[in-house]
Amino acid sequence: MTTPMNDEFAIVASGLDHVFIADDGKKTDAVKDVSFSVRRGEFFTILGPSGCGKSTLLRILAGMIEPTKGSVKFPAGHEPQNISMVFQSFALFPWLTVYKNVEFGLTMREVPKHDQKRLTEEHIKEMGLEGFEQSYPKDLSGGMKQRVGIARALAISPNILLMDEPFSALDAFTAENLRKDMLSLWLRDTITIIMVTHLIDEAIEMSDRVLIMTPRPGKVEIVLPVQLDRPRNKRSKEFFELADSIARYVKI
């Protein structure tokens, strides 16, 4: 499958294979012949059961894993300056304060000092972390930790934000809250988001399109658009119907 490269797309993945070799030499197709493209400014979700290769796929997009075959391309002239990531486990640096964690990407990129300060303070405020600047991650609740994770990811002004099951480690109330905040941020800033999740409701609530993955080997089952009006009513008939039809595609 080939996809035309043009301005419309933020990222185009074609023919991605990733063979995982275990310590005992056994080979597993973690990702097999995966092709898709994500439009600029789109909220794109990769949905599938655990072990279907969706996290591996996300890491290939991030450039952290080299695919065995295939390529990830960005349209010419629209290469992202910054790809950012939010982790399921938060992955905050325990030796840094909230402030220093949020600032981390800016420091590494050697952004001018006064911009560092401005952007860090801005994103701390945006994620409601004021007053916690000097706290260490271990002193924060799960929800607050992920707020730091999101602030750190957004501080570098990414064109593409990758989110690896960002709400899975949180309790239902906290997760719901954070999803709403995330959505309003995405609606305000034009940023391309690619999220990995195993929750059908979460995928429908947030995304423009949902890619459903099947495990062993990790293949694309189907890519479905979500054409419900935003903000989405999770108790509406259409929502349930879509959830049912997605559930039929998800294989364990």
Partner: protein, 241 residues
């Protein structure tokens, strides 16, 4: 900012009070017992100072060496080959090196320091390595995706990751170091606290021997209480998210 914060552990008021009390304790004790036993106070301080100097120079060198080895080994392809080799070297008894070191350098400080490095390097190295190899792949992914590469990664990711292990290894290493230096000084490296104790034992001055042991104990307790315990607690806090 983080620097001033890390110094705070030594600035708390109770810590200062304890510091002064505890620092004076060994000195007061040594002063008291030497006057009581009628020996020169300065000889005990010279002996203790000589031992301390050896242990700390060897410690500094060991930390330096361990960090270089950590950076060379960690994450490289030959890691799986190198670690078993280091494990074998580790189990080699350092005392077996003492005669040859004495032949090369004479029975002085240099021989003692090399001998101490052979003793102290291993706990520091292995402890630092294990805290880096801790199963936190996500932290490394985060470091890399936010732009930590090369030297930047080394300073802002690898070193802080290694720090808790370094502190832990330092405590174990210094313990083994004191054991080794006292042993070496009993065998023949002079001057030194081990030498002092041995002389007292040989001469049959058991009171001085007992006082010497208590003085050494007090001294080591002081070092632990003042420097390592707060550092250990803090590094433990920092290594948990």
């Amino acid at each position: 900012m983080s620097h001033s914060h890390s110094l705070k552990i030594y600035r708390r008021r109770w810590h200062l009070v304890v510091t002064f009390a505890v620092i004076f304790l060994p000195f007061l004790f040594i002063f008291g017992f030497t006057k009581y036993a009628g020996i020169q106070t300065s000889t005990v301080f010279i002996d203790l100072g000589a031992s301390l100097l050896r242990v700390f120079s060897a410690y500094a060198a060991s930390v330096f060496l361990a960090m270089i080895l950590v950076l060379l080994i960690n994450g490289r392809r030959f890691e799986n080959f190198f670690l078993p080799v280091l494990d074998v070297l580790q189990s080699f008894p350092a005392f077996a090196l003492l005669p040859i070191l004495t032949v090369w350098f004479g029975p002085g400080n240099l021989a003692a320091i090399f001998f101490l490095i052979a003793t102290m390097l291993w706990p520091i190295l292995f402890s630092a390595l294990s805290s880096i190899r801790m199963e936190r792949k996500d932290l490394e992914e985060a470091a890399v995706i936010f732009g930590a590469r090369g030297t930047k990664k080394l300073i802002s990711f690898t070193l802080p990751m290694a720090l808790p292990g370094l502190v832990m290894g330092s405590i174990v290493g210094l313990g083994e170091g004191w054991e080794a230096i006292v042993g070496a000084e009993i065998i023949g490296v002079t001057p030194g606290i081990g030498n002092f104790l041995n002389t007292a034992a040989v001469k049959g001055e058991y009171q001085i021997l007992a006082f010497g042991i208590i003085a050494l104990l007090l001294f080591l307790f002081t070092l632990n209480k003042l420097i390592w315990l707060p550092l250990l607690k803090r590094s433990h806090d920092y290594s948990h998210e």
